[in-house]
Amino acid sequence: MIKVLKAGFYTSIQDLGRMNYQEYGVPYSGAMDSYSAQLSNALLNNDPNAAILEVTMTGPELLINGVTSMCITGADMSPTINNVRVKNNHVIQVEKGDILSFGKLNYGFRAYIAVSGGFQSEVVMESRSMYNGITKGFRICKGDELQIVSSENSIYASNATLKINREHFKTLCIEVFKGPEFDQLSPAQQKGLFTEDFSVSKDNSRMAFQLKETFKNNLQAIITSLVMPGTVQLTPSGSLIVLMRDCQTTGGYPRVLQLKETSIDILAQKFIGSRFRFIVAN
C-alpha cells in the first residue's frame, strides 16, 4: 500500500486507456505520454497496461508501506527517497516507511510512477484510467491509500538504467497529417500552418491544448463529426485546439490536422509557453 501525503498539482491513475466504449461517448483517457508510461512498466517487467501514476508539473509525496520496486519515467522532477536523490528511468528498491517526494522540474511536464505489479484501483469498462463521471475519482487526493496488485516478484531487481531519447522532450517538431477539412483552407493558410511558430497556452489539460496564437480563417462549421486524441480543431475565431487523451468523441469544428501518435506523447510533455512547429509526417 502507498499512502498519499501530498497529491501534487494533478496526479491521477492511468493505464493505456479505455478502448471499445467510444460509441457511447466515452473518452479514451489513458496516459498522456503513453511512450513514457510504457517505459516505466517495461523497466519493471510489468504488463504494458499496468496502472501507473501520472504526475503533472509538481510531484506528490508518497509514503511507502511495504517492500517493492518502483520506476519513474517521463519528466524529471528531481525525485528523492528519504531526501536522497534517485534517478529517473531506473529501477528503485523501496522499503516500508520510505518517502518518495519530488522537487524542481528539470525537463518535461508529466512524470510516471510505476510500481511492481501496477496500482490496483477500480476497473471501469475494462480500464483503471481515471475520468470524471466514469471512475469515482478523477485524481488522487491527500490521504488516499493506493493499493498494489500483488505479484510474485514484488521486488524486481535490475541495475539497468535506460538512456532515454532526450529528443522526446526537446524536439520542437510536432508531426502531423492533413485533417479531413485541411483542403478547405486556402493555399496560403495551408502553408501558414507549417511555417508559423505555435505555442501552448495556459488553457491546457488532459482534454485539450489550446494554442496561444490565433489563425485567421473563414472555414464553415461542420456537421458534428468524429474526433480523437491528436485532432487539431480550428474555431471560427481562429483558435487552434489540439485534442488530447480525455477529449470528447465528437465535435463540430473543422479538423485541419491530425497528430501522429508519437507526437501526442511529445506534446504531452510541453508546458505553457513551449514553442513548436507542425511538420508533415512521413
Partner: protein, 244 residues
C-alpha cells in the same frame, strides 16, 4: 442502400474516415448504420473500434495502417456488394419528463420569446418522435433529430457551469438530455428521472443509433416515484420493438 457517393480519407496514422454528403436526414443515417453494421460483421481483426455520427464513420485500427489505399479498396468493395435490402429493426423508448417549474429553468423565457404557452411547448416537445443519430459530447448524450421547428431556440450566450443530471434541454435545432451533471449552454425545460448512462453495465446506454425516443410528461410526484425505482435499479423503461 449503398447508393450514396462516399468519400474515404486517411485520418492520422491509424484511422480511416468515411463521409456521406453533408446532410442530416434519416436516409443518410440508415445508410451509415447499414454500412457500419456490414463492416462490423466483416470482422477485420485489426479494427479496434468503429463509431458513427450524422454523416460519417470513423474506423480505428490497432496499429499504423501500412497501406491506406488497399484498406480503402476493401471498404469500397464491401460497400458496393449488394445484399437483399435489410429490414430496419429498432426500439422505440418512452421517456418520462417532469416539466415542472422547479426543473424548467428556461421554459418561461422560451414561452415569452416564442409566444407559445408553456402548455403548448410541453405538448409540442412530448408529441414528436425523436431519432437517435449517435452518442457523443458526453458519455451517454444522445444526439436526437426531430425537434418541432416551433421549438428551435438559440443556445444561451453564456453556458451554465452546472446543469443537473437528467436536464432536458433545447439548443438551436436540437433537443437532448444531460446524462450527468456538466457545464452546458442549452435551454432547460424539464428533467428526466431515467439514467442515460450506467457505468456498471457492459452496454452502458439503453438506446442506440437508429432507435426512437418519445417523451411523456409526468408530475413531480410521479417523477419522485420513478426516480426511487431507477435508483433501486428496478425501473423498466417502456419500449417497443419496431420492424419495418
Amino acid at each position: 442502400m449503398g447508393d450514396f457517393k462516399l468519400k474515404y480519407k486517411g485520418f492520422g496514422d491509424r484511422s480511416i474516415l468515411i463521409e456521406w454528403p453533408s446532410e442530416i436526414d434519416e436516409s443518410t443515417l440508415n445508410d451509415v448504420l447499414y454500412f457500419k453494421n456490414k463492416i462490423e460483421k466483416h470482422n477485420i481483426k485489426e479494427i479496434v473500434d468503429i463509431k458513427s455520427a450524422y454523416n460519417s464513420i470513423l474506423i480505428s485500427y490497432n496499429y499504423t495502417i501500412g497501406n491506406v489505399y488497399s484498406e480503402i479498396m476493401t471498404l469500397k468493395t464491401l460497400y458496393s456488394e449488394r445484399v437483399s435490402p435489410n429490414n430496419c429493426v429498432y426500439k422505440q423508448w418512452r421517456i418520462p419528463v417532469c416539466y415542472d417549474g422547479g426543473f424548467a429553468l428556461d421554459l418561461e423565457d422560451i414561452s415569452v420569446q416564442s409566444k407559445l404557452s408553456k402548455t403548448e411547448i410541453i405538448a409540442l416537445h412530448s408529441t414528436s418522435l425523436y431519432t437517435v443519430y449517435f452518442i457523443g459530447f458526453l458519455p451517454g448524450f444522445l444526439y436526437l433529430g426531430g425537434l418541432d421547428e416551433r421549438l428551435y431556440f438559440p443556445r444561451k450566450s453564456s453556458p451554465r457551469l452546472n446543469v443537473k443530471k437528467g436536464a432536458v434541454a433545447i439548443g438551436g435545432t436540437q433537443t437532448g438530455v444531460y446524462p450527468n451533471e456538466s457545464p452546458g449552454g442549452w435551454n432547460i425545460i424539464g428533467n428526466s428521472p431515467i439514467s442515460f448512462f450506467n457505468v456498471s453495465k457492459k452496454v452502458p446506454c439503453f438506446a442506440k443509433p437508429g432507435d426512437k425516443i418519445q417523451f411523456y410528461a409526468v408530475s413531480k410526484l410521479e417523477y419522485d416515484n420513478i426516480k426511487a425505482l431507477v435508483d433501486a435499479g428496478v425501473f423498466q423503461i417502456e419500449s417497443e420493438v419496431i420492424d419495418d
